[in-house]
Assembly symmetry: C2
Homo-oligomer: 592 residues x 2
């Protein structure tokens, strides 16, 4: 069995030394003392390591079953879910008005990483509930909030998001699910939705579906889509669970991975729902949910890579195979451990530098969300909007790659299901697809976010990077090995932005042909920036005479690895972008 | 169901116009007239499309079963195997002395691609038989050849290679399987082997295992390893199948993919075997098998990507989702096909330009093998030795990536097992691992092949590229768009070689830390070179007034795509290589 070790030390470094959460001027952060957050992370880490991680394989092997129309989750999920609820974990960063603990989203993110690393499929039931909670809280009436939120904060009821239909995923303007007004303020919803994660389960007493549908007579396309709350069981006047609604599970999908998560075909057959937010403004309301979910998926990208990295590291340290080219390091044994081989070391450094960089970016993103939502800071809001597709797209592309690298270290043993590596790869694969496939993230970034608010957020990002470099360039521990490569990478990103500005209007294909490369170019600069910030924090700790020098030296070495071995990718992405639309669009569709 | 379309037109272009096989001065090539090869490929294509492809999903869903110690292959495999044998396909490029048809390896490679694209797991039974045939033919006694080869050419008996043991894969020096001489020229083999592909099956009446073992009293390490022929059933004096030998299947591995291929734990319990080749020279003999198998796995890399690309292309042409940014192309439909979107087009071009480039490199490699084996040409021998790890490592890394890209085009539909995309990705994953994991290929390339024969093969490669550029630089259709980028990429490769030469001796880690990057850098230059050759052939055809201009224009456009969008990777790989060992080796093993 694989052991999951919660990365509590690394998280503390980010929270206290890089993001300086304890002293941040954000309401609620006054609770984020190092001792408090350490205690929370330690408790969460125990649950993740001792309860969730051992169920990860069970979830993969057993999967979910559909019997008599009801979904049964894998053995042990119910008890673990109950334990999570009892510990109050499901409402950690939820509004105290509805029973939550009101902690910052940043702390919820740190804890959430542990849930995902230890058991991603299991965590989806509460993850989707949280996203549905946020949507109802943002757009619901007082009555809707009072009815649903307390039960969702406690996860007595779970939530879902119902967007996709058989003929439309990305292009929601095509959706056909209908909503007929009943004259009493309710609607009858009819249609079929597919790929509905946690669409049904035996963990909660009710499932609250958020459903996109078209009200009879609404305009065509995306302008005629409304959002509805459709519970699996109707809610009685006293708030208790009542009769079954017209909602049923048509089928469970058989998937490549995340077998512990029930992916359902949902049939709505005149099911009773209430409008959430305004008529025909459903897509906008759903985006509340989508944006939160996208950050969550970006987190999944590196959290799975962390778990896979931990397994690969242990294997490389233990498995004896071959001899170090510079002479045996284990002369009394039959061979040296795999980790002596430079190419194995490279693969581990790739994983480690990605995971820790992505964790830093995600935590910073969470802090920006806290700042935006708790202080109304528009700059923070603009910046996290810009970064959301990067966090989702780049981190899941690279997270999958990282899991594949971890699997590779196991050789043939990585390919058989006896070891956990195949599952990590199969599970990670979905993160590149759901909540907007990564091509859609790239389109969102280049087609929408880049020019949003007159380009202010993008310029703000460049200014932060520039300001950071300027503020630290006198530190010889950082200058050549971290800041110069970051400056060069950032210039590549600026050149790409210039190219889009100059060509995008007259030839939109020129920008869109480079969208995925731009997403990756941005991702590398963002991680390079986070590594520079971590390097600066490590350098400061070393200068102040820390007793934990090895930790900070390791941080600096990993930062330098990222700068030396990952940042050179920016020039390649820029070259591809500058080649424009012609190479990409040269063939007619029928010539492929 | 997915339809597989044999790429006969593309293969004919390579055989006739790029490699100029019909006129090549290699014995046996006089049979390679365009009409003859077209007829062979058409017949093979029918079998692949109509018989093998429909069984691909069956193989994945059913997998193999172990019952009462015998492996049962999936439904339909037996009949298809019989059809393949009856058609004489299994001995296509085998020695006529043993019942083969004596065709060039090049033709066998083209046909083999079709088997793999249509059903890779199925093809492993005959693929391993072919590799075992080659090893016995190269190292066997006259009696061994007479006993085994005719039955293996016809695939009445299948073959295997038994290398890996539970505690050793790459490091074969650790192997423990014992061989006790019986004094009558035979040995008793005892030990356990794992990950044995096609270790048992119900397709053939006997299974001929080639087994690495250590003769009692042999030196430790790799110098004490011998190779044995160990049949599942002993062979009677009259050549017929006799009593069971001490060979049994301990278990069937449950794997991420290639479910139709039986991956066995093999137990040898005093099984009778005969020595193949010389005592203690087993590893060298096994390398005959390994080198052939490595080219075969490199072929699997792009052949699976071809199948996945065909599916993705069809989906992108049919699935309606969103509108072209430059205005609707399907205004009467609800949406435009996916292929209008530049990012989808980019993903398809990545796949197409990789698959066709890798096919060209593999076919060229096969021609070099024919030249080396049929004329004794030492230059060809040196070059294909150098290229083997590139073909295996680069093409399987990129082939897997390409399958992932194809899966991505399907969105959520690509993640469910109802569509074939998950299987392509799961199947492709093994190609990066078996026959020497890709890290081992990179080590072989940098640590052995690069300096082999005083570096002559590497210098020979550079001279070919240089000579080709010089010969064609007056063609304006090629100069700027193909030859200049190739020249620049080739210079990056030369710079990497220089760096290794200057640093490798005093600090071997400096070379090995860059080995995987070097493999990829080389792979891109090799594909860039093949694309330049294809571009030149296309340009010549257009200049001569072909009636099939669209085909050649498409070739040129795809060549230019590779040059513009893939070759920029060489600079990134070079930068990583030049950063040397320090970033990679900075951490102590315990600091990971």
């Amino acid at each position: 069995m694989t052991t999951y070790t919660p990365p509590a030390r690394d998280m503390a470094f980010l929270l206290n030394e890089v993001l300086e959460a304890p002293g941040a001027d954000i309401p609620g952060y006054e609770e984020m003392s190092p001792d408090f957050t350490a205690a929370v992370l330690e408790e969460a880490g125990k649950l993740a390591r001792d309860v969730l991680a051992p169920l990860n394989r069970t979830g993969d092997r057993e999967g979910c079953r559909l019997e008599d129309g009801a979904v049964h989750t894998p053995t042990g999920f119910r008890a673990a879910f109950e334990q999570m609820r009892q510990g109050g974990w499901t409402g950690l960063d939820c509004d105290p008005e509805y029973g939550g603990q009101g902690m910052p989203y940043l702390l919820g993110t740190a804890v959430g990483e542990m849930w995902v690393s230890s058991n991603m499929a299991f965590n989806m039931y509460q993850g989707l509930t949280h996203a549905a909670y946020s949507t109802i809280r943002a757009h619901g009436s007082e009555q809707q909030k009072a009815t649903y939120l307390p039960k969702m904060v406690s996860c007595e009821w779970t939530g879902t998001m119902n967007l996709t239909e058989p003929h439309c995923g990305t292009d929601l303007g095509l959706l056909r699910t209908k909503a007929e007004p009943q004259g009493d303020g309710t609607y009858r919803i009819t249609g079929t939705k597919i790929f509905i994660s946690a669409g049904d389960n035996d963990l909660a007493e009710n499932v609250i579906h958020l459903v996109l549908a078209r009200i009879a007579g609404a305009p065509a396309g995306t302008k005629g889509i409304s959002l509805f709350i459709v519970p699996k069981y109707l809610i009685d006047e006293d708030g208790s669970v009542g009769a079954a609604n017209g909602v049923s599970v048509g089928a469970l999908e058989e998937k490549m991975g995340i077998h512990g998560s029930a992916t359902c075909v949902m049939n709505f057959d005149g099911a009773v729902g209430t409008l959430l937010g305004e008529e025909n403004k459903g897509l906008k309301a759903m985006f509340t949910m989508m944006n939160e979910a996208r950050i969550g998926v970006g987190l999944q990208g590196y959290a799975l890579a962390e778990a896979a990295y931990q397994a690969a590291r242990a294997y490389a340290q233990e498995r004896l195979q071959g001899r170090a080219v510079t002479g045996p390091v284990n002369p009394d044994g039959p061979a040296d451990p795999l980790i002596v081989h430079p190419d194995v070391r490279r693969a581990l450094m790739d994983q480690k530098s990605f995971v820790e960089g992505a964790r830093a970016l995600t935590f910073w993103g969470a802090q920006l969300i806290d700042r935006a939502s708790r202080t109304g800071d528009q700059e923070a809001h603009g910046l996290i909007s810009l970064l959301t597709p990067v966090i989702k797209g780049f981190q899941t592309d690279k997270g999958f790659e990282s899991c594949v690298q971890a699997q590779q270290i196991f050789g043939g043993h990585g390919y058989i299901e006896e070891h956990p590596m195949s599952q990590y790869v199969r599970d990670a694969r979905i993160t590149m697809i759901y909540e907007g496939a990564n091509g859609v993230q790239a389109l969102d970034l280049v087609g929408r976010k880049l020019a949003a608010d007159g380009g202010k957020p993008m310029m703000g990002f460049f200014e932060r990077v520039k300001g950071f470099i300027k503020a630290h360039e006198d530190d010889p521990a950082l200058k050549e090995s971290l800041l110069d490569p970051l400056k060069s990478a950032s210039k590549d990103l600026q050149a790409a932005v210039m190219f889009f500005m100059e060509n995008g209007m007259k030839n939109p294909n020129a920008a869109l042909a480079g969208s995925t490369d731009f997403l990756h170019l941005f991702g590398h600069v963002a991680l390079g920036y986070m590594w520079a910030r971590m390097g600066a924090a490590a350098s400061a700790a070393l200068a102040s005479g820390t007793t934990d020098a090895a930790f900070y030296e390791t941080k600096l070495a990993t930062a330098r690895y990222y700068a030396a071995r990952q940042l050179p990718a920016t020039r390649m992405h820029l070259a591809r972008i500058l080649s424009g639309a012609d190479p990409v669009m040269a063939l007619a569709p029928e010539d492929f």
